[in-house]
Amino acid sequence: MNGPVLEISGLNVDYGLGDAAVRAVRDIDLTLNRGEILGLAGESGSGKSTLAYAITRLLPPPGVITGGHVRYRPAEGGPADRNGDALKAGTGGAGVDILELGPEQLRAFRWQEISLVFQGAMNSLNPVHSVRSQLTDVLVAHRPEMSRAARNERAAELLSLVGIPADRLGSYPHQLSGGMRQRVMIAMALALEPEIVLLDEPTTALDVVMQRQILRQLVRLREELGFSVVFITHDISLLLEFSDRIAIMYGGRIVEQAAAKDIYRDARHPYSHGLLHSFPALHGPRRELTGIPGSPPDLKGMPTGCAFHPRCPKAIAPCSERVPALAPAGPGNRTVACWLHTEHRSGDS
């Protein structure tokens, strides 16, 4: 089951060129294991969506990938096999670098191997087509051998997966609530049973009962089909319950990465700690919420050293001068980028 399915290394993404560039994603190293639910959290503007777009090569201009690799290793007998062999060539043991795929390969790759539910995807449904025809269109395009009846049946099944009664198949997007549209997009992403599903804030418009239901479906499908999920959200409380591992981004970088329960029990990075303590509790006494003081960094005028230092309650000497690297921090394969947890503090930069 395990072993990496996606390995991101040294990934950098800018918006714009030269001096005007906004460095939205920096030096990202991240591995997604097969069958894993990886949560990606961090405040608004930290680069989560940019990372997702870069991985799927859907980065809108003026976004440019300025460096790095995104290696994809499909499983033997996994969806890549089922879905045909457009990607087989050159996928030996090493897999393919998504950043080097040609347009033809990319087309086959998206939806079949990896699907992305955009943030705000509720608006990407075509307003003049019914839910049924949008769901079946995906199947027509990628599963031409399916009969019409089978496609309709599959469309109904996909809808029920996300908790929408089948009598809404004939509805048009404007006739659905925001959360319902969001769920139709999730259903579409699952239609071809891809190897990796990237969900960017997929549940922001959903009530908790529905969120839980959809996440449980994902967990179940993950077990049945063995796919991997990258779940992007700023709602870390949700991630704590449902993901295996969590990576936390700040100012375009990953600042901490560990098993969900390790993050909850013992967040090492002061920013992670702040995130965990800034959501309102439903239970227990009402406490004053402090949040994280200060405001998110301006990517155009990034603070020197650790980008969090102007807001960090624990900042020490090297913090404002040198960028801490993401380094191993204790058992359980966890990593953290913080001078408080870096052993070779005296090393030069």
Partner: protein, 430 residues
């Protein structure tokens, strides 16, 4: 007007906007007629909703996705007409669409839309959006300098600083959260008396979310705004709203003081909603949601909830149990009802672990629970009927007797609360 029994704490404050039994049915395509049994099919998006928005008060509506929350907001903003029912601004009925009265209504009642991606025009800059909004409402200042100052202040209010970095960018250059803050700034430009905020912060991360909610609260207090806060984040309703109402399948099913509704939910749907909220303590305490429920789901409860002392572990365990119970006991666990052909009686009955015979056919009216809460649920039959905001008697009539009612624990407020939480006694959990 004297505050009535089931009114929330802020009952004394002046009512700015009131809805009386508003209903919205949407027509759907003919081909669905078969499903609806020959009748012209409609989506029952909102049925018989009565509520009051008061000066300087935040009223939250929480509830299931697709239950009609946005539709209520749009009806209140008069973006489309009601199928039936009445809207009153400052006690006066508003009818005619168009004309001066309508324009005044629109100025007074501003809406923040659920979704910032669709509500900003991609071809215009932030400066354009905000300048236009300020000018429409006559707040653009007399010269460029004043306009610039108003713009800077607006952006500052939503924490987009320095303003210079954001004024001349296009919506696509902003992150999702940044875009939503621009949308909020635009609504604030009108300087409204009623703010209808449809999920205003669901796209924002927690730290900014807090800032925006505090900002809205500050506006409420300073400008005495009446705010309708629609959210699916019930924890934020607890912190931010004075009053919270719960919606299920087109109807309001529970309402009252936010602290009471969130800490002692009465309606079984509200209980499910509260129990489903992400709660990291569950993983911390090793109570996995997916794990089998404890043998007696209710055993943990009295100590946790009625004992007054918050025992996180017991609460977490109980909630895992409530969720598991709701999933195990009902035929189709998470399945929300069809609104084209809604279930008769109580619309929650197909999913309700406490459903009784009468729930399948009789629509429950609002029953009072204590002095600051009500629920539309037959479990509270025997309690006094909660006055509807429009003060008309509930149309279904108070069917106060029935075999199930007798099986309930002692009537009265505390009895009713016990009935809601310690459940199984009497009606059984079929």
């Amino acid at each position: 007007m004297s505050p009535s029994a089931a009114d929330p704490p802020a009952a004394g404050a002046e009512v700015v906007l009131e809805a009386r039994a508003i209903t919205k049915h949407f027509r759907v395509r003919r081909s669905l007629r078969v499903l609806a049994g020959g009748q012209r099919p409609v989506v029952h998006a909102v049925d018989d909703v009565s509520l009051r928005l008061r000066r300087g008060t935040v009223t939250a509506i929480v509830g299931e996705s697709g239950s009609g929350k946005s539709t209520i907001a749009r009806l209140l903003a008069q973006l489309y007409p009601t199928t039936s029912g009445e809207l009153l601004l400052d006690g006066k009925t508003t009818r005619a669409k168009g004309g001066r009265a309508f324009r005044a209504y629109c100025r007074n009642v501003q809406m923040i839309f659920q979704d910032p991606f669709g509500s900003l025009n991609p071809v215009h800059t932030v400066r354009y959006h905000l300048t236009r909004a300020l000018r429409i409402h006559g707040r653009g200042g007399r010269n460029q300098e004043e306009l610039e100052q108003a713009l800077t202040e607006l952006l500052g209010r939503v924490h987009l600083t320095p303003a210079g970095r954001y004024l001349d960018v296009f919506p696509h250059e902003l992150s999702g959260g940044q875009r939503q803050r621009v949308a909020i700034a635009r609504a604030m430009a009108a300087d409204p008396r009623v703010l209808l905020a449809d999920e205003p912060v669901s796209m924002l991360d927690v730290s900014i979310r807090l800032g925006i909610l505090n900002l809205l609260r500050d506006l409420k207090e300073r400008l005495q705004l009446a705010i309708l806060y629609i959210t699916h984040d019930i924890a934020s309703a607890r912190y931010f709203a004075d009053e919270t109402m719960v919606m299920y399948a087109g109807r309001l099913v529970e309402g009252g003081a936010s602290e009471t509704v969130t800490q002692r939910p009465a309606h079984p749907y509200t209980q499910l909603l509260i129990a489903s909220a992400p709660d990291p303590d569950r993983i911390a305490e090793g109570v996995a949601v997916t794990a089998a429920p404890p043998a007696d789901p209710d055993a943990a409860l009295p100590a946790a909830l009625t004992g007054g002392v918050g025992d996180a572990h017991a609460v977490a365990e109980h909630e895992a149990a409530v969720v598991a119970e709701a999933e195990a006991d009902s035929a189709s666990p998470g399945e929300p009802p069809s609104l084209i052909d809604p279930p008769p009686g109580c619309r929650f009955h197909p999913r309700c672990p406490k459903a009784m015979e009468r729930c399948r056919s009789e629509l429950p009216p609002r029953f009072a629970i204590g002095d600051d809460q009500w629920a539309a649920c037959w479990l509270y039959d025997g309690n006094p009927l909660a006055p509807e905001p429009d003060a008309e008697p509930a149309r279904t009539g108070p069917a106060r007797t029935g075999p199930e009612a007798d099986a309930e624990p002692a009537a009265g407020t505390t009895g009713a609360r016990a009935a809601s939480t310690t459940s199984t006694g009497g009606e059984g959990t079929a």
